[in-house]
Amino acid sequence: MKESKRAFPLADVLPGLPDQHWASFVLPLAVVLGLALFPFITGKDVHRETMFTVLRAIVMAVSLNIILGYTGYVSFGHVVFYGLGGYVGFYLVSEKGMSLWVALLAGGLAAGLLAWVIGAGILRLRGAYFALVTIGVNEAVRALIQNLDIFGGPLGLEMNFSVYKAYGGPQAMLQMTYNILVGLAVIAVLLSYAVRTSKFGLGLLAIREDEDAAEVMGIIAPKAKTWAYVLSAILPGMVGALFFFRNGSIEPHEAFPLHISIEAIVMVMLGGYGTVLGPILGAAGYQVMRAFLITNRYLKNIQLTVSGVLLLLIVLFIPAGLIGWLRRRIPASRRILL
């Protein structure tokens, strides 16, 4: 019948909404892979470095969207997972001589564990109270790290250049870390899609709309929120480990900057919160715009002003984000744009 035509063809192997077009799954992946492959096509190192920043932002935005977009909890402390994962990963590589792969897993695990431990407590708060507490958690973890001698205290940790030899030298290391980031970005998209189209995700959306009503309907809100928080924390932890490994040093004030959290929120809102494709487009659009402005001969001196004006215009006139706007304007796109 009509439904069978519209049915999601991979529904047997991947969770999907029954009336969702297959393109809703392929489109986000295609965007990420398209961006990721761009440096391979041009063969230019500078494009690889630009896309590293873009993909890093995509992972941050897509993971934040799980707690912000799907669950409706605005977190200003998302960078705490990035910083903690960065520290744990860096410590294992530089001080314990472990491989990058172990560092990545440990970074993700540490971030997930932190989310699980604090999530049980702070997710009881709602609205502005939760938002404020997330800033406090970020500051508290930064202060703790700054006072831990094993993490170098205020001096942070440094890595010898020779460590990269084990990965085929610095050039090979930069390429390898990029490839890993591509993998993490793809995982982030799959995770986001899986959550969005699952029963668990439906529960999160219900919590976002009305938490009390959701609980009446049988959703165990504290458990669902905590798991959403943990899922949103793991990938930023891994990306932190990757970023600081290629940077060769880590310091407390570089690992937990509040502005990364705020930028991630902006990217999610720009693309459209609560959607799979939105945060990807928001992150890519925002970072490509910033990369262009910062290196543009004429605009680089006023790049913050120009990007501020553009953001203002978008937020003023398209408050639901790009995907939200398209879905409202073109009803037919709703099956494709998830």
Partner: protein
């Protein structure tokens, strides 16, 4: 409602048009000016030294080298970074105006810069330095301001085999990571306060009890840890070693501890705000100290606003306008003098920018000066030859003595340059900043004990 939407659309189109128009404009105007010299410059290093200089002589040509760097045009390093860049640009303007650097084969070397805003953050430093090297074909690099950003940039510069002169990057650790083409202009953090210990030993060999009270930041901690070890070796007793949070405004608890422990001298501080507050509260509580040396704040002209509280406070500085490094001093040291005198630099800087140069400005100028001198010594723009010249460099400039460590463990670390120490002293009713250490560069005798 429709009108509003139309307006929004119009504004967006205008904004995008502005962006795209600027993009097109850049390509159209930049190409003829920038690409021609770049080709010449980038070819030269690839060829053997003799061939490239021979070719240049035949053509009697002028080559324009590109110096790439990032500047913190926004963010917390903005003031220091922009002064550093002003210093560097002054050197470039002067060098180009004087006809460039002439090599023995008749080649004339001139310079131009390419730079981007790093926003005082590590986030894009590696991306921007990759762009400078691979897209803008920078021949030589200057570091960003601060040790943290430089550490990230050094990974990229070393990977591409580019020489990077660092200024504003005092941390020792950057130069102990196995790099071979990164060269430091500043005195490293480990020697920032060791001179203050030398001053104590010089003016009062009987002083024994020293307290370290410092900002809990990477820079200040690395400085005081090195100074503490040095002080202990010099036979001083460390009665207190305690850090404070960067936003501390009440130093009462620390001052009480200083008094309880019977400290005679205090070393520490961190940055301007906390350092000046600490100095003011030490004065208000009439702590009986003979000697106080604080980081960063005392060399700043604004420190004088503390009035009486500033009198006698000593502070380390990479350079001061009054510092007395002269060609005669170079002769006495048995090394070569290079570049303008202190007076010439200060005058040129003030004429160009209508402001007094800070040590960041002098550091930026010195970075250019050292690079130019290395090219002269190498008599080539070949990176390997310039690296060899930097390794062998031993010169005195208006900024001070420049010599680099060439050992495998700390290649590029600055070992010649020394901090100068300033002290605020009373000159009638006004306050005056005097250089009191090292003695050969002093403009006044040290005021001891501190009033």
């Amino acid at each position: 409602m429709t009108g509003r939407k139309m307006l929004a659309l119009l504004l967006l189109v205008l904004a995008l048009g502005l962006v795209l128009g600027a993009c097109g404009g850049e390509q159209a105007t930049q190409a003829p000016a920038a690409e021609q010299p770049k080709e010449e410059v980038t070819k030269a290093p690839e060829q053997p030294k003799e061939e490239s200089t021979q070719e240049a002589a035949e053509a009697g040509k002028e080559i324009v080298l590109t110096i790439g760097f990032t500047e913190s045009q926004t963010g917390k390093y903005n003031v220091s970074s922009s002064r550093q860049v002003k210093g560097l640009k002054l050197w470039i303007e002067q060098t180009n105006a004087n006809g460039g650097i002439k090599l023995s084969d008749g080649t004339v070397v001139k310079f131009k810069t390419v730079s981007y805003d790093d926003e005082s953050s590590k986030e894009r430093v590696q991306e921007l330095y990759t762009r400078l090297i691979t897209e803008d074909n920078a021949d030589f690099l200057i570091s960003p301001y601060s040790s943290g950003l430089t550490a990230a940039a050094a990974v990229i510069s070393e990977q591409y085999g580019k020489i990077m002169i660092t200024t504003g990057a005092a941390s020792d650790s950057i130069y102990k990571k196995g790099y071979t083409r990164v060269y430091q202009i500043y005195t490293p953090a480990s020697r920032y306060l060791t001179g203050a210990v030398d001053i104590i030993k010089h003016v009062d060999p009987n002083l024994k009890k020293v307290a370290f009270v410092y900002e809990d930041s990477k820079f200040a901690t690395s400085v005081v840890e090195a100074a503490k070890d040095y002080a202990a070796k010099q036979g001083l007793e460390i009665v207190l070693f305690e850090g404070y949070a960067p936003d501390t405004t009440d130093f009462g608890p620390f001052i009480n501890k200083i008094v309880d422990k019977g400290a005679e001298a205090v070393l520490g501080g961190g940055h301007f705000q906390d350092g000046s507050t600490f100095a003011r509260q030490l004065h208000e509580k009439q702590v009986p100290l003979k000697f106080v040396a604080l980081l960063v704040a005392p060399p700043e002209p604004d420190f004088a606003e503390l009035g009486e509280a500033a009198v006698g406070i000593v502070g380390p500085s990479q350079w001061e306008p009054q510092a007395k490094y002269t060609p005669e001093a170079a002769k006495e040291m048995g090394i070569e003098w290079c570049g303008p005198t202190n007076e010439e630099f200060v005058k040129a800087y003030e004429d160009a920018y209508n402001e007094e140069p800070s040590y960041h400005s002098a550091g930026g100028y010195a970075a250019g000066l050292v690079l130019g001198k290395a090219i002269m010594m190498a008599d080539s723009v070949d990176p390997d030859a310039v690296k060899e010249a930097l390794d062998n460099m031993d010169i005195l400039t208006f900024f001070g003595h420049i010599k680099f460590d060439t050992s495998e463990e700390a290649h590029g670390l600055q070992i010649g340059h020394e901090m100068v120490y300033v002290q605020w002293q009373k000159d009638g009713d006004t306050l005056k900043k005097e250089v009191v250490w090292p003695l050969e560069g002093a403009t006044a005798e040290i005021l001891y004990p501190k009033p």
